[in-house]
Structure formats: structure tokens, C-alpha cells
Symmetry: C2
Subunit: 298 residues, 2 copies
């Protein structure tokens, strides 16, 4: 009986709105009801040209790339993938409450057609970028919200925007030099959003399925969570661009769009929970607590 | 070479202070330097009367209880532990980016001397509670900071204070009724801080060592991350109060105090990183990104 706690209520709950005066008009509903009432236009399919499949022995991890913020880095990663750079490499690091990371542990695999260094792409101009803001304050940025369902921030003073280090975001490891990241070493956030990394590193995408194959990896016992013994590493069978995988072998997923009334309703359902279990609604939400909503393509 | 990224610099770095005008005076240093320069009075030992050892097949998890916020719940848990209620039970749930949880999966173990229901202890009066505030805004609460090195929040308007759901915090599962939690079912946060739970549930402590034994557990594939098969559960060998364990078998740990100048310096080292890798200092910090600093007793 006690194990029912935190269940998402399925029944619609009649309740008064507790949204702030500044927020868009929303219907007070539980998240499950908002999703159930969504229309097909509230969703978008993953673009096979910007979707990677990281194949591990335990299963597939699906990564959606976002070329709007770090186009050079995304292009270089796609070149590396196309030339099968990652096949046979390994997950070399799992640092608790921080990141998992993969690379060439011997650091001698040739780069092929890929660039060895890339100019920094840690932020970009916010102009002409459709941005859905959240209504609540953020500890780190003047404004936070979503661009194409990716968590992002922007600064009105500098007109800059950047992707944000939420859970499951994928970034490009680099050395101290800002141009030293080239996409051969990628990391995924597995803990509390390490927002101090924002604007210091190129974020290129995020995991949309299979996250639990990464987050539950045994933590490395070496410095920074690196595995001390090669046999502790998880081998990477392959990394493929979805567009280069036969249609029948693709993961057909849809992401809930963030530029819709349905998404505004969903955010409100999380700011003020309607489920019976909750007694004190938060009345607020932090960017990285807004769930990414993914479903099989219908 | 690239794998050096995010390393904590050990060398002291000469740099100007970037602290805000409102923050206490702090010395701009990297975290490692702040810790290295700390004095014995900057630390406190764990109290054996408020420390639990959760013994799993893979190792020990050390939990520090805080009786200031939920004294009835802490007392009931200590009664359950003293009477060996948890021995032989199991971790029954691991929901990705949320919580792991343990209980009596058969729900038939007798409660012994423990109470079956407890009045809610989700917040308390902030009066007479030594509170070290953080200088930066929070998405959820008017003010956040630390009480005895536990992350906490307080509301000047209502004079209430409560513990906050950061990574590794330990709470008491309950059913829909606010008095239905009694400590027989406990959960630990393993992902992005689920702050919507704040003030809705009794937080009783947090994991101070062995967190990786919980966070890396295979996720459950049932609803809400419950394991579908009994053999997927992790058995609990025992839960013991440190005071009831022979001195030689105890984990002797110290926690960095949060009511000191050293801690103010540490917070500043995380608000504005001094390590060479960082190019854009955040200038801010979110409560749950302030690290808990633990060391073996010296």
C-alpha cells in the first residue's frame, strides 16, 4: 500500500488554478491528463539526420543532436560516426552524481576526415532563436526555457543563448584550451545539473531513450570516476547515425514540442501538482525538473 | 590528455575576487586549496547516536540522521533499527533520475515497539535554528542555505524552515495521508533534486558515504521503477545505529561544518571556479550543487 506514493494520478482532478498572474493561461490538470489530451501536432519525430544510436552490450542509447548551438561540433561528431570512429571504443568514466564519458582510451585512433580542433561553440546569439521561457527564477541565468525541447538559457543584456547542463545532456569533453574539444570524447550528465559547466563547453544533444543504461553503470574508483582497470569499462559496439541505419532497425520516437499550449499546460501540471499525494504545491519549477516527454511514434 | 578535463586544480591560483557585494568576505581560491587550508575546528564528527549503517552485499552506506526537522520520524526509525526491523528486507525500487527505496516487500513484518502512524513533520519553525544562507536565488524557496551541513530552506513570511530534496537526501515514504509515513519505507534521492517533494514529506537525513552503492543500482522496469521480479531486488543485510556497533567496526567520518569562514570560502570557490579549465565563472550556485565535504576522521 505504501508503495503507491508518488504515483501519477490518472483520474482528472477538479481544482482551482494556482498559476501566477504572469504565466500563460493554463488548465489545471495532472501531467498524465495533459499528455492524454495532447494532439498529434503537439509532437515531433526525431530527425534521423540528427539522431545517434550508441549501441552498448546492455542495449541502445538514443541521442538527439541539436546543431543550432554547436554546428561545427555536431558536424564533426557526425563525420566521426560516419567513419565509425567510436566502434570498439569504451565508456571510460562514471563519476557519481556527475557524468559518464567515453573516448579512445589508448588515444591513438586516427581522426580520418574529422577536424582535430574546433573553435569554441559554448553560446550563440539569441536572435532569431525561438525560445519558450519558463516563468520561474533560476539560480544561474537571467532567463531559462526551451529551444526545440532542449533546455536552454539566454541573457537579454548580451543577447546570448546557450544549452543548459540538465540531466541526460551530452557534451564535448575538452582540455584546458577552448578549442581542444573535437567530439572524440563525449560525456553525459548523470546527476544534479552541473550548471557551472554552462558556457564553458559545447553541448551537442541529449539522451532521449536508454538513459538508464548509462546512469546505472558502476562508478569508477579512480580520480574523477575513471575506471582503474580496462575490464571495468563498458565496450561500445557501435555509434550510428539513424539515417544510416536501415528503417526497420531504427527507434521511432516522438518528442513533445515545447512551443505549444499543451506544453504550457504540462509545465503548469508540474509547477502545481494535482495528484492527491501532494499537499503543498511547489508553485514553481526549476528548468531541469521539467520532464522530457518521449513516446513511440504513433 | 583530453581526459584531464574537469580536474580540480591543486595549485593555488592568484585571481581577483568576483564575489557579490552582499556575500561575506571570501578569499578567491580553488576548492582543493580551501579544504587543504581548513582547520580541525572546521569539521565535526558524525554523532554515533544519529548515524545509520545500511549494509548491502556490495558495501556499507552511511546515513546521517537529522532529528531537528522530523524528531518523531527519526525516533521511530531508530526504534525500528534497534529492533532489527530492516534486516533481511530489500531495496525494491530504483527509478531513474529520482529515487531508490526500500521496505518490507511482503508488508507483513511486525512493527514491534514502533509507531504505525506519525503526525506530519514536513517543516518546522525557523526560530532558534542556526541557518547559513546562500547568496544566490533559488527557483523554489525565498531563502536556501544550510543547517548543520544539511541543505535547507526557510520562508521569512511564515517563519518556517524545512530540509531540501538534494541528491542523497533520505526521506520517509508515505501514502496519500500525511500521517501514513512511519519510517518503515525509506527513499534516497539519486537524480536531479526533486524539489516538488519539499514540504510534502519528512526528510530525516542523508547519505554521507557509499552513495554509489545506491545510485548505480539497476533501474527497475516496473511502474515507478519498482523491480518486477523479487530476484532483482538488492537484499539488506542489516541496518544498524553506529552507537550500537562496536567501535572498531564503525566508519569514522567527519563533515565540513557550514557555519564557518572556511565554508564561505568553499562556497565562493564553487560560485567562481579558479581552476584553469573554467573560462566563464558561473558567479552563482544552486543549493544542491554545493558539495557535501566528508573525510575520514583525522
Amino acid at each position: 500500500m505504501r508503495r503507491a506514493w508518488l504515483a501519477i494520478a490518472i483520474l482528472p482532478l477538479a481544482a482551482h488554478s494556482a498559476s501566477s498572474a504572469d504565466a500563460p493561461a493554463v488548465k489545471p490538470r495532472a501531467m498524465a491528463d495533459v499528455i492524454a489530451a495532447s494532439k498529434s501536432t503537439d509532437w515531433r519525430s526525431l530527425d534521423p539526420q540528427n539522431t545517434l544510436y550508441l549501441e552498448l552490450p546492455q542495449g541502445r542509447v538514443v541521442i538527439e543532436l541539436n546543431p543550432k548551438f554547436a554546428p561545427r561540433h555536431v558536424a564533426n561528431i557526425k563525420t566521426l560516426v560516419h567513419e565509425r570512429y567510436f566502434d570498439g571504443l569504451a565508456i571510460v568514466r562514471a563519476q557519481d552524481n556527475f557524468v559518464v564519458q567515453w573516448n579512445d582510451p589508448d588515444n591513438k585512433r586516427p581522426l580520418g576526415s574529422a577536424q582535430k580542433t574546433l573553435d569554441a561553440e559554448f553560446s550563440r546569439t539569441a536572435n532569431e532563436l525561438a525560445f519558450t521561457p519558463l516563468p520561474d527564477p533560476d539560480s544561474y541565468a537571467a532567463e531559462v526555457g526551451f529551444v526545440d525541447a532542449f533546455p536552454a538559457a539566454r541573457e537579454p543584456r548580451t543577447h546570448l543563448a546557450w544549452l543548459v547542463h540538465c540531466y541526460a545532456m551530452v557534451g564535448v569533453g575538452r582540455d584546458d584550451d577552448v578549442d581542444s574539444g573535437n567530439g572524440t570524447e563525449l560525456y553525459v550528465v548523470i546527476g544534479q545539473a552541473p550548471r557551472q559547466l554552462d558556457r564553458n563547453v559545447a553541448l551537442v544533444g541529449r539522451v532521449v531513450a536508454g538513459m538508464e543504461e548509462l546512469s546505472a553503470l558502476k562508478r569508477g574508483t579512480g580520480a574523477l570516476g575513471f575506471y582503474e582497470k580496462p575490464e571495468e569499462r563498458t565496450p561500445i559496439r557501435s555509434v550510428r547515425l539513424a539515417a544510416e541505419v536501415p528503417e526497420a532497425e531504427r527507434s521511432h520516437l516522438e518528442i513533445m514540442r515545447t512551443d505549444t499550449q499543451t506544453f504550457a499546460d504540462l509545465v503548469e501540471s508540474q509547477r502545481n501538482r494535482r495528484e492527491e499525494w501532494y499537499k503543498v504545491p511547489a508553485g514553481r519549477i526549476e528548468l531541469c525538473n521539467v520532464p522530457l516527454i518521449v513516446r513511440p511514434r504513433t
